[in-house]
Amino acid sequence: MDRKEGRRAIEIYINIVLLFFLVATGLAAVLLRNLLASAMLLGIYGLLMAALWVVLDAVDVAFTEAAVGAGITTVLMLLAIALTERHEKRPSRPPYLALLAALVTGGALVYATGGMPAFGDAAAPAHRHVAPEYIARALDETGVPNVVTAVLASYRGFDTLGEVTVIFTAGMGVLLLIGVGARRRKEGGGS
């Protein structure tokens, strides 16, 4: 029992430390004028996020985030920056209005968390509807022990089909914007 309590306490400490690092890297990524540095910080941010997902029991999400957030996103950002500009110009007007909007929205949201169930509460409404059913039935009905995979591909297969279509459409959009389409237009237009 004592050991279990200790493990839980360590989990909470790791969680809080990771959250601090996340806020620090996120803030630095936004405040820096050098876009190259921002993109690098975003990669570190993705890796920290992946570590946080492991602490929060979301191993499948951590896997995806480590490959996408820390890998592909950074590569794409760097490529886009290489094609545009490396430095951001100073904005012409001071950002007081944006700061006010962010603070007011943030304040309202923090106030609203008072109505949320406590972090890690097993009796929260989110855990009392379909989720226990999925966990109890997934192995018997599909023969797949990883409940996330079972829900993703079977119980919510329609959702996944939609997501795949979105990814496909996004890929085709990029291809037409700056890939094949742009090249053909360039050759045809002669400019």
Binding site: V59, D60, A62, F63, T64, A67, V68, G71, I72, V75, L76, L79, A80, A82, L83, D140, E141, T142, G143, V144, P145, N146, V148, T149, A150, L152, A153, S154, G157, F158, T160, L161, V164, T165, I167, F168, A170, G171, M172, V174, L175, L177, I178, G179, V180, A182, R183
Partner: protein, 137 residues
């Protein structure tokens, strides 16, 4: 970046293992963390590493854009096709129980096929996006 011998040799050694790991994640998604989305990204990452080190044009010879665009379509069609196959088998759209005699086996088969479709599309789209950005200038 072709001139850096260390980078060239190490990446050449690593790429087969990254591809193998991608396939492992794809196939092992039922039993541990993993699945089509992760496998697709990892698989694409191997090709992107290849394209970064050995120029995009070399990578294009290995996996041409036309092949990738076709693969992206095949992935989506496979997912939709599994849904329609369920309908033909007498169930609803995306109901896998009808794919095999035993509903449990049907469900497992359906999940494997859907994950495969997801993996193919995600890998192809990630490579298409990389080629599109890196092919400019």
């Amino acid at each position: 970046m072709k001139d850096y011998m260390l980078l060239r040799i190490i990446s050449k050694m690593l790429i087969p293992f990254i591809l193998l790991f991608g396939l492992y994640v794809q196939m092992h998604g039922d039993y541990g963390p993993g699945g089509g989305f992760q496998a697709g990204v990892i698989f694409a990452a191997a090709f992107i590493l290849y394209a970064i080190v050995f120029e995009v044009e070399t990578a294009r010879r290995v996996a041409p854009m036309a092949v990738l665009a076709t693969a992206a379509c095949i992935g989506v069609l496979l997912d939709g096709g599994v849904g329609v196959a369920g309908m033909i088998g007498g169930g609803n759209f995306l109901e896998y129980g009808a794919l095999a005699h035993d509903p449990r086996h049907g469900n497992h088969l359906g999940i494997t096929l859907i994950e495969l479709g997801v993996g193919i599309t995600v890998a192809a789209v990630m490579m298409i996006v990389y080629y599109s950005f890196a092919g400019r200038r």
